[in-house]
């Protein structure tokens, strides 16, 4: 479960120190929304939004994980995978509305506390099931197939080695090294 500390847009700087965060009970993964950014101080990455609300982006990151849940893949890669929606939204008001409305709809369905307030993946997935035929869901899922799995940085997590020509192929690097048969 992700704990989010939300700050109002006029508070320009992220003033919560790491120590303060921990004091507030935020052990483990933390996503912080500050100004126009989603920040993970624990893992030293942040994502600035330009068109979408940062809260929307934080929820989108959770939606992305719920669609393709890989427990061994850190949030950072899900954030990278969905940031294209912010870029598209900046150029295309219709796309901005699609995403903002889609997330708002999920939050509404989730009730008090919103989508991110639902503690169990099953609860969130039940909501996603309800909307899986919608253009919003299709846009998010369809985009993720490429934007998540085509990140070279995640390949090693799945044991995929990628490009091999520059290393001379696998002729001397284990193309036939299976031992358990």
């Amino acid at each position: 479960m992700v704990t989010i500390y939300e700050r109002k847009p006029h508070e320009r700087k992220l003033s919560l120190s790491r120590r303060e965060l921990l004091k507030r009970g935020g052990a483990g993964a933390l996503l912080i929304i500050s100004g126009s950014a989603v920040i993970s101080p624990e893992h030293a990455w942040g994502l600035e939004t330009s068109a979408l609300k940062p809260e929307t982006m934080a929820t989108l990151i959770q939606v992305a994980r719920d669609i393709y849940p890989h427990d061994q893949v850190p949030d950072k890669y899900y954030a990278i995978a969905v940031k294209g929606h912010d870029e598209t939204a900046a150029k295309d008001p219709a796309h901005k509305e699609l995403i903002e409305k889609g997330i708002a709809d999920l939050d509404k369905k989730a009730g008090k506390g919103g989508y991110r307030g639902l503690g169990w993946e099953e609860q969130r997935v039940a909501l996603l099931k309800e909307i899986e035929k919608t253009p919003f869901f299709q846009a998010v899922r369809g985009g993720l197939v490429v934007s998540l799995y085509n990140q070279k940085e995640v390949w090693p997590i799945f044991g995929y080695e990628g490009e091999s020509f520059s290393k001379g192929g696998y002729i001397a690097r284990g193309f036939n090294d299976i031992e358990w048969l």
Binding site: Q72, W155, G162, F165, Y170, I171, N176, L181
Partner: protein, 523 residues
């Protein structure tokens, strides 16, 4: 030195497409001293330009122009605008193909005779037999360096093959080996041997896999009789009052329309583009399109009965390492109707990288069931099913009524409904594939639906009688003597085998015929 021919030169043979059919025909004719212009829609990327990255390579090589789909096949739902995974680049789909080079079986040239009439299928015997094709198969195998022929050793088996072989042994299959592959197992033809790199589908950066791009085409160019004109999209074939074809209108690299005059035209744009071009060449003399007096142009579209089975094991496999398709089980390729279907299928090793596995394992799938399959990517093995599908008149390529491409040419619609025989065969193959992996200890298996079609066949089929098809046994259209079809669209039926070897063999044979007809002045 590559030739350069004038647009007004009406003595040349114009070939549309530079893949297995067009590239081979072009070289064979050039070797005989015949002047040839190949119009290729795509750009020229040499093998050092190929990219070991699935999406980047797809962007570089694939035919991405919009097409539409209809029918009950799952591809129409999953990939409505990408019915086929084929190539727009010099070398055509021989840049992308896996290299599997199998001869048809004797009965596959005589399916109507062997299978009898099948309801809802438009079966027909080929006007050629295996015996007639054998000398050309032998020439093609020698040209392409097919392993397991001409004393060339087979490729060594990779991890994915070893799993397949272990399962084949458990199930009692007898004919399982690393295939007959047009991939050098030893250095030959001034090309490298296979370095087990994987990425066979992304273009072989070693040049070890046969492709017209770096075999037929440069050899033809060296004769001074062949010009390959890239970025040249054929739009229409012109004819004169007598009905003979006279030239090809194409959009050049700047999108400007040009006409290359021709003595002979050979269409080799693969089974979607070839009928599209013939249909788009309609005229007052040929209102249904060129060579279409039978009404069969675009019909009988076949795409092989395909599917994949992937399996997860409790220990690592690393299936993506090494030659992608060097592994085959042939036992199910026989015709044995006791299995509940006519014809047969091959099982061949296959792997996809993580990005394409995510796109193709279960298109549209999401959630834990999907994600946990990918979690075990490096513990996966996989095989591809490729079997004979039934030709059906209503499975066809048509010109879209409204949508046009950037050159104003109607885009192609691809309609396909699975025949019950196709479905029965696929289900049988899924069961066998899943049993095979279970026998080696798979903890989970995935019957994976067909990908966008790589084997596109039959839309200008060969027939003895002009009423039954589009071309005769030499690929010459029944209606127009100097118009030929030189790709897989000639196939009367599809066989269970990967089609490239047969396309190349037909092209070698067709070159002999065209040369003879030209010297006899009959074309």
């Amino acid at each position: 030195m590559a030739a350069q021919f004038d647009l007004k030169n009406d003595g040349v043979v114009v070939i549309i497409g530079s893949g297995a059919g067009g590239g081979t025909l072009g070289n064979e004719l050039a070797q005989k001293g015949i002047d040839v212009v190949i119009l290729e829609a795509g750009a020229r990327h040499e093998y050092e330009d190929f990219i070991n990255d699935e999406w980047d390579s797809f962007t570089q090589l694939a035919w991405k122009d919009k097409r539409t789909t209809s029918g009950d096949w799952r591809v129409a739902k999953d990939f409505p605008n990408l019915p086929a995974w084929i190539v727009k680049s010099v070398g055509g789909s021989t840049t992308h193909w896996a290299g599997a080079s199998l001869r048809f079986q004797e009965h596959e040239f005589k399916t109507l005779t062997t299978y009898g009439k099948v309801k809802g299928a438009n079966l027909l015997d080929w006007p050629v037999t295996l015996a007639e094709m054998e000398p050309y198969y032998a020439k093609a195998e020698a040209k392409m360096g097919v392993t397991g022929t001409n004393n060339w050793p087979r490729l060594p088996g990779n991890n994915n093959f070893k799993v397949l072989k272990a399962g084949a042994d458990k199930l009692g299959y007898k004919e399982c080996h690393t295939g007959n592959m047009a991939i050098n197992s030893v250095e030959r033809d001034d090309r490298n041997s296979c370095q087990q790199t994987g990425f066979c589908f992304q273009g072989c950066k070693w040049g070890a896999k046969w492709s017209t791009l770096y075999t037929e085409i440069p050899k033809g160019e060296a004769t001074g009789h062949l010009e390959v004109r890239p970025n040249s999209m054929a739009i229409k074939i012109n004819h004169d009052a007598s009905g003979k074809v006279t030239g090809v209108v194409y959009a050049d690299k700047d999108g400007k329309l040009q006409e290359q005059k021709a003595r002979v035209v050979a269409v080799a744009g693969n089974s979607i583009e070839s009928p599209r071009l013939l249909l788009n060449s309609e005229s007052s003399k040929f209102p249904r399109g060129l060579a279409n007096s039978s009404g069969q142009v675009g019909r009988n579209y076949m795409r092989h009965t395909t599917g994949s089975v992937y399996a997860v094991f409790d220990k690592p496999v690393h299936m993506y390492r090494g030659t992608t398709m060097a592994g085959i089980i042939r036992d199910e390729a026989r015709h044995d109707p006791s299995r509940g279907f006519v014809g047969g299928y091959e099982m061949e090793t296959l792997s996809l990288g993580l990005p394409f596995m995510a796109a193709f394992l279960n298109p549209g799938g999401w959630g834990r069931s999907f994600a946990t399959a990918l979690d075990h990517y490096d513990h996966m093995a996989g095989l591809w099913i490729v079997g004979e599908d039934m030709p059906r008149e209503e499975n066809r390529i048509t010109l879209h009524k409204d949508e046009k491409d950037e050159h104003g040419m109607p885009i192609a619609d691809v309609h396909f409904d699975d025949h019950p025989n196709d479905t029965a065969m696929r289900d049988h193959a899924y069961k066998q594939g899943q049993a095979l992996y279970a026998a080696v200890g798979a903890t989970r298996t995935f019957p994976t639906p067909p990908y966008p079609s790589t084997h596109n066949l039959g839309t200008n089929r060969m027939s003895e009688k002009p009423a039954d098809g589009v071309v005769n046994k030499h690929g010459q259209t029944h209606d127009i003597k100097n118009l030929f079809v030189s790709d897989g669209s000639q196939f009367t039926t599809g066989g269970a085998e990967n089609p490239t070897l047969t396309i190349v063999s037909l092209a070698i044979r067709q070159a002999d015929y065209i040369a003879a007809q030209m010297s006899a002045k009959s074309i």
